[in-house]
């Protein structure tokens, strides 16, 4: 699983659900925040039809955090490996911090598999199920417009 895909799933999952699943894994390393959590603005850009010229859609609030694991393993290893970053839309510092912590732990070889299988995979399934459910309920109210052919 790529880092971008993991970030997407963690950011789309509501914080309560993420906290609950994370607590079940029982990974509780010591860490400190090296930057943030801080709230800022990000410019959302779009392309008409996905292929046109880029335009600025508008600004949105964004919360970001970066944490570093501070246990013995990370002190011995490369500093970059123990850093994790998290971004989430809106203003939820605890959510961003938790994402950063999960990201930092997911770079550890001994926790990687547990996080992929025990946390990210179920969360992805839950997100997919919700999206399908939404799509179904929306589809049930679908209205097809058509014009009656006027009779002779």
């Amino acid at each position: 699983m790529t880092s971008a895909r993991r970030q997407r799933i963690l950011a789309l999952t509501p914080r309560e659900r993420l906290t609950e699943h994370w607590a079940r894994l029982g990974i509780t390393p010591d860490y400190r925040c090296v930057r943030g959590p801080e709230v800022g603005m990000a410019m959302v850009r779009g392309r008409m039809g996905g292929t046109g010229n880029a335009f600025n859609l508008g600004e949105m609030t964004l919360t970001r955090a970066s944490v570093q694991l501070t246990d013995d393993d990370s002190a011995a290893g490369d500093a970059k490996l123990s850093l994790g970053h998290g971004w989430v839309k809106g203003r939820d510092p605890r959510h961003a911090e938790l994402i950063a912590l999960v990201d930092a732990c997911a770079k550890r070889r001994d926790w990687q598999a547990a996080i992929e299988e025990g946390l990210v995979a179920p969360l992805e399934q839950a997100l997919d199920a919700e999206r399908d459910e939404n799509a179904r309920s929306a589809a049930a109210t679908r209205v097809d417009f058509f014009t009656m052919v006027r009779g002779e």
């Binding site: 090296v34 930057r35 801080e38 970066s66 570093q68 500093a79 850093l83």
Partner: protein, 211 residues
């Protein structure tokens, strides 16, 4: 990340900024920067310099770092914490991190040419953040001008010749010129472009003190 930012970014940067303002307003006075995170031990810069950079740099500033100060990943750390961009061209920089040896052109083809602004926009000049081995009063340089009642003396260590000569040359092109923030360990001082700098041997100091 071995470089730490301020614990409370808003208050700490305001406090350091106030110290910088006071130092600029009264050239040659010293401020002791306290309560800010230490740079890593292998870094080439001190606490006051790191605090200055954290306070002044943001997304809109470009920073030029002298090759001899580029140690322990300072470029990455500065971008990570402040969002400041790096530039390879000294004349594009808003802030330049230098030593007196940089201004002497040591290890380079020629001394870096920093931006001095224009007569219409003298504010578009590079501000030097100088890393010194020694910064004290009672030295061989005499400062006078705005913000200084009479004279003040400054000691920038034995290698400071190139620095003070460069800053003294500011007077010839006023209002263009370079402002300098001098740092040494936890201590900082400032020499804006309006300050007159003259070399003053100790016996001459006594002479000019007694009318």
């Amino acid at each position: 990340m071995r470089w730490n930012a301020f614990d409370t970014p808003v208050h700490d940067s305001q406090r350091v900024y106030r110290q910088l303002l006071a130092a600029m307003a009264e050239p040659g006075t010293f401020a002791e920067v306290e309560g800010v995170p230490l740079p890593p031990p292998e870094a080439a810069i001190g606490v006051a310099c790191w605090a200055t950079l954290l306070s002044l740099c943001d997304l809109d500033t470009r920073v030029w770092v002298a090759p001899e100060l580029d140690a322990a990943g300072i470029n990455e750390a500065l971008t990570f914490h402040t969002g400041a961009r790096h530039t390879q061209c000294p004349d594009e920089a808003d802030f330049a991190l230098v030593t007196p040896a940089t201004l002497a052109g040591q290890g380079m083809a020629e001394p870096p040419a920093f931006q001095e602004g224009s007569d219409s926009y003298p504010d578009r000049s590079t501000t030097l953040v100088v890393v010194l081995d020694r910064l004290a009063s009672a030295g061989s340089w005499t400062l006078s001008g705005p913000g200084i009642p009479g004279h003040r003396q400054l000691n920038v260590g034995p290698g400071g010749e190139a620095l003070m000569t460069r800053l003294a040359a500011n007077r010839t092109r006023f209002p263009r010129g370079l402002d300098a923030i001098l740092t040494c360990g936890t201590r900082l001082a400032a020499v804006p472009r309006s300050t007159r700098i003259t070399r003053c041997a100790s016996e001459e100091v006594d002479a000019c003190m007694s009318p």
